[in-house]
Amino acid sequence: MSAPVNAGVEPVTVVPRGRGAGLFRTAWGFGRTKVGAALTGLIVLIAVVGPFVAPYTPTEFVARPFETGVDGTLFGGDNRGRDVLTRFLWGGWTLLLLAGASAAIGVAAGTVVGVVAGYRRGWLDDVLMRVGDVLLAFPQLIAALLVMSIVGPKVWLIVAVIAVSHMPRVARVIREATRKVVEQDYVKAAEAVGLPRWRIMAVEILPNVTSPLLVELGLRLTYSIGVVAVLGFLGMGLQPPTADWGLMINENRQGMAVQPWAVALPVAAIAVLTIGANLITDGLSRAAIGIDRGVEK
């Protein structure tokens, strides 16, 4: 049993949002986090600002299909002869939006399930986890494809499917974290006082699983980007003539040999984005481990 290193330090008068901020601060300490933020920022910038600076509309025709070196276009035309640059600039925000939404929903739902399962234990835990297992038995992509093939590619559906496929994975992690927390006596203390269960979960447990939570969020975001992109790539995501990076790759694969730009640009963007997101996540998780060591003795 060792006393914490920082025993007896002067009371820090204001520590906003408890450890959460601390986590970010620590994470920011790692160089890779900064790099990740820069990369992600770059792509987000392109995706958000892109549509406003695009030279053409994403659907107007400026060249023959797969024609390059057309003056007025930087990267030539795509499979229909629309400006590759324009479509690239337009194609980002859908991806970000879908990925963001599905990750957020999935993690939120997963957290609720995880905390409840981890805290209430018993049959509820079993049921939730078994259901989770069944969901987990579908590789994420397969599940998405199955549903898409049945209902047909709809935006809300994409979000829903990805979110659902995230849920059990997040739930598992949060459940483990919750169990660790539940072992801690302050939860028992709250029970001894007779604090309502939901408040115990909200006040005592949730704040203490934020670290794994943030890490999961980052992780799921990275995956979501991947899945959304893959769906687009498989033609099961957004439908033409939408400008979407995943779809662009799909549409222009045919012409890769003649017109590599139409594929290279979105591919590069997705790669950079995922790498960036993952770098941040990595920073967070490193920070989280460092911080939680204090909590778990």
Binding site: T59, F61, N79, G81, N250, R253, Q254
Partner: protein, 533 residues
Amino acid sequence: MSSLSEGPRPTLLSAPSRRSLLKASAAGAVVAPVLAACGGDSGSGGSGGGEPQRGGRLRVGVAGGGVNDTLDAHDPTDNVDIARNFALYAGLLRYAADGAIENNLAESVEPNEDATEWTVVLKEGLTFHDDSPVTADSVVFSLRRILDPDNPLRGAGDMDGVDADGLEALDGRTVLIRCTEPTVTLPEALAEYYNCVVPEGYDPADPVGCGPFRSVEFVAGEYSLFERHEGYHEEGLPYADELEIVDFPEDDARVNALNSGSVDLITQVPHAQVAVIEGNPDLAVMESETGMWLPFTMRVDQAPFDDVRVRQAFRLIVDRQEMIDQALAGYGQVGNDMYARMDPSYPDDFEQREQDIAEARRLLAEAGHGDGLEVELVTSDISAGVVAAAEVFQEQAREAGVTVELRRVNPSDYWNEEEGFPYAFGQDFWSARNYITQAAQGSVVGAPYNETMWGENEEWLGHLEEARRTADPDERNELIRRAQRVEYEEGGYIVWGFVNLLDGHSTAVHGLEPAVSGHPLGSYAFHRAWLEQ
């Protein structure tokens, strides 16, 4: 993968495949001025290249193929089957490269004055692969096999008028074909590859025909091997000793095979790959203008298209050249809202419709859509360029204040009533055929694929019926042109263009020339192709 590629996709469900081929079959009958094949392709691919040389194995990669491949002379289901059919069998008549009908096994095919009786005389000394003679009885057997009421085969549809029991072998070489009604379209039918002649007691398991090649080996969905039919009726043909036809459902794979030299010829080069092939000095692309058309279909009996002004407006919205450029990457020719391009009756004198947004807006306004119009366009990857055309139209319509919602339907479901076929506003693809036959397939009431419900129009119908009963070509054409005028003004089709076929071949292959039929490789003219040794 096929559905995404720009090349024609292998049709996997039997429903559409049957149909598409039924349609893709007959190229137009006697043809107007021969359409020149463009570019130097015909040079390298065409009859140039000096004296034809005999020998060698011709390796051909054909789009499509599957486990349902068959060698049945009268019931081919898929592109590769058609290719094999051209290799194995021969009919009484056939389409020349320019779309004209010429004698094949027949020495002559003559109608009586009202086209209710046709007399066919066979050439002399014709033999099947098993060296047995081709006789009038073979012809009668073949036609009866096709027309068998219990199990009518593909060709039956083209020969409604023919009376199976009335068939009669007058002598060893002469056959009398009796019809229940005037049947001016019989030559077209007899020129169809799937109405070819087979020996009596024919069994698809032992595919004996009298085509240029005889079957050696056949693996469904994979490949088939043939050797020269020494007894082929055209002197000196075919040139190649052996012919190998390989199934290629995948476009990329097909192109790769040509690139890597594992085949000498491939059908249907995806637009995107043309540059790749032309970039290779040992390869060339043969472009063939065809009568194949990819219309937009408007149902004249459903809002908003029940208003002729809307139909006209939509026809004026289309920038046809842009359609060709963007949807077909320029590999096509502008259309003028009229099909049956090879038909002598084709109205070249109709003024070419051009895009006219202002006029379109005016018409729409008149029709009560002044403040914009929203329509759903049902599209599907049923053939190369169809979806593309839909997207291009969507873009063009915007200028005229028309908002087009694209509903993309799975190809295998496109002609499915459950999906809502025939759609108020949809698309389709048809192969070249002459006006009357085409109308019978797509326009008249009760036609198998009546997608515009145009057949209700009395005036048009009147002219058409009369034409079908008229044996004299000139009179008939005159009647047809009247019908065409009506359809040109009020019809439900937007015929924005005709597709050019792109075949790829090694420069060592000669003897091929572009054909208008819509069948690749100059209607699979394996018998004329020869390899530079």
